[in-house]
Symmetry: C2
Subunit: 499 residues, 2 copies
Amino acid sequence: MASSLLTRQLAISLQQNLRLAAPGSRYVSKTATKTVSEFEYDAPSMKTAVPGPNNIQLCLSLGLQNVGAVHFFCNYEESRGNYLVDVDGNRMLDVYTQISSIPIGYNHPALIKVMTNPNNVSAFVNRPALGILPPENFPDKLFESLLSIAPSGMSRVQTMACGSCSNENAFKSMFIWYRNKERGYASPSEQEVGTCMINQSPGCPDLSILSFMGAFHGRTMGCLAATHSKAIHKLDIPSFDWPIAPFPKLQYPLEEFVRENAQEEARCLEEVEDLIVKWRQKGRPVAGIVIEPIQAEGGDNHASPDFFSKLRNIARKHGCAFHVDEVQTGGGTTGKFWAHEHWGLDDPADVVSFSKKLLTGGYYHRDELQPDKPYRIFNTWMGDPSKNLFLLEVLNVIRRENLLEEVTRSGKALLQGLYALQTQYPHILSRARGQGTFCAIDACNDATRDSIMLKARNKGLFMGSCGEKTIRFRPALVFKEYHVHQLLNILNDILAEHK
Amino acid sequence: MASSLLTRQLAISLQQNLRLAAPGSRYVSKTATKTVSEFEYDAPSMKTAVPGPNNIQLCLSLGLQNVGAVHFFCNYEESRGNYLVDVDGNRMLDVYTQISSIPIGYNHPALIKVMTNPNNVSAFVNRPALGILPPENFPDKLFESLLSIAPSGMSRVQTMACGSCSNENAFKSMFIWYRNKERGYASPSEQEVGTCMINQSPGCPDLSILSFMGAFHGRTMGCLAATHSKAIHKLDIPSFDWPIAPFPKLQYPLEEFVRENAQEEARCLEEVEDLIVKWRQKGRPVAGIVIEPIQAEGGDNHASPDFFSKLRNIARKHGCAFHVDEVQTGGGTTGKFWAHEHWGLDDPADVVSFSKKLLTGGYYHRDELQPDKPYRIFNTWMGDPSKNLFLLEVLNVIRRENLLEEVTRSGKALLQGLYALQTQYPHILSRARGQGTFCAIDACNDATRDSIMLKARNKGLFMGSCGEKTIRFRPALVFKEYHVHQLLNILNDILAEHK
């Protein structure tokens, strides 16, 4: 039971025997059992195929509900750290972590302490309307948590309940900023006030957000108009006539294709500028550009710091706001807290949105993006202070346990392992890529990808997919090198059988 | 401290001396002190004007954040039942309840028990991706909580994180349903699959949602296109060309204007049908009609059961889905669990959305509205099982303490009191109206309304506003008749001074 978890050993030995495998050999981590902390399991353990009998029974019992996407039912009480336990007692190494939203593993003792601290009870039981009646400790908690990790150039943050709401409101703040600029910060005209009530221009202006093919920014109707990763997300839903630029299709490893990739990025940037001009000419000016530092849902597509730096300049040049969507990349998984830190820019964005590993949604923004009046960016809950309490403790753990360094180290081992696998199985795997533990590799086709994933699950490794034929790795920040070795061992076994 | 709250007296004496005030006299509830349960306070208690010095200090400390809408900072630990305590130690009778989102008052002992039950820890600490990896107890909890209160004709529910996401996804499910019907449930064409990726028709079809003037359905871009309550919500945000029908402007009390109101409702219904035909002709067919049972944010506008029954038939006749938005009206505040139950229909709607007092967002729907494929209605979290745990306990309390009967009784006393006040102060107040405790009254103008609300706050009564000059009452379900008397006494004192 969750409440009986033992306190974790905080001092984890970081000295490990790193033995990079020669092709065909198994990875061996001699120190693995020593570094497993008390609260975590030491390895996967499978009792049935997944889904097993208990799972099938539960799926039936959900009856009429929307269950088509259910993989399996979980026993979260018994899950620990990197290991997810299902209702048939199968224990899997989880490198998908609830679609990349579990920051420091399951049932982390530090989070359980937050829950069982009597001083925190009220924050869970009385959810406030944060925008009008914040709790006494809200300023302190905001400064200690979200504002302590604010991206460069940003001293303002607005919390929201989820990733989609964060992006919707980030879009809104860009539209408001753009129109205020256009009208010279004067009051809106009577005509604007009147027409907005009936969805018409000029009150509801024909502004647009420029997004990229392959992007995923959420599924509410504003976000969805900027999302272009899979047809199933968008089919049958009305949308906006907004410009869509090509996202660079790079060759990997990036270091080996510097010239080719630079050309591809230049082509895409040129298209961005053309689209901005074209949409202005057709009366739908681009108020903002939105982009992920790594396109996740769309297939783990990378671009260089130079690309993002130039894109940021294009936004500035054309008077568009620049919105970096870090919903999936944020929170430490790339080895820095924000993926955009890898670009090395002092002024990386006008807006940075987040959710998932940060447990609360929201977005940071530069001062100018603050709406000129209250109630322009508003809703009932405006986030959830109980999630801020958890986030604060997650940040403490990240700092105390040096998890960003850990992610960098584990990520390096993971990527090297993936390189070795694709060298060994070139007819099955290709395009290994990653930053920190935010890694991916392509299978030769979607059927092979899906087959590898199912076999891996039955051997105790739970992975996610993205794009057309990509496996994505999204472990928690407590994913250590010996977990990497477990992962590679299982993959190696499957691929060896697959030959 | 919250954790030290005493267990509440469950058997509350319901025998009260009801003395309806003669004009000018004070309401007196002789038994008030006897029925105050141990865990609640017995009356407001004010130490400073609001906002007091601690409040002003905290507002300054938030510095650059979006604080324009902050009324005051709260001490939620010290708040109890119907009484909200601020950081200056002021204790107010709260009839706004965090924009109508606190179901059974502050720090209810039953909710504290949920928090402190070790079996529940895991649900708070490990937030799952509900759509793919639900917890073991999810089916049980769903049946015990949300499905136990499903509206007539609905056996399916989809949880979401907030009201806006609920309505966005309800809209999407109506669009998907409508297009599947149009294409005869065949697979989408290649052209549809291709065009949807770039926001174009036919993949992203020109469908619409019919909404009503004065409506509020949320502030994300899809919801906002159906919202028409205040310009500040909509100004500068691009929108959709969707039809907007007039909502009946009724005269109150409803019983006295039956004929006039029926005529007004007939006029609006005629306009609805005209708009459906017109939008079909211009190539933007109405896939769904969305409406609140009582327009809340728009000014507490009522319509008759006959109006809703006829509107439901119009939707059926024209092949549009009928979506009842119960985000504010749901959860018991009208004296029935759902406000649409007052219509007496077996088949009241195709979709019913909820949030606020239900603590989790979501929507019920009829079987046909289930998307044909997984991942069409989907996001990372798909709700939050920890909120379901609280909801389950709220439902237990509602049943155990007969709170719907209580609401009906308190609501009757409140409305009678408001009638008496408007009779006594006809130059200040008019149009008292309500269902259960979901009541409202208009001031002669917005300045007077705002002045009454500020004076009331300084005397320990915290109310909300809506529409142009309306005061709205949104107490919790534990609002008893002696709270009504406290409220009326304070209002009476203010109005007497105002004369």
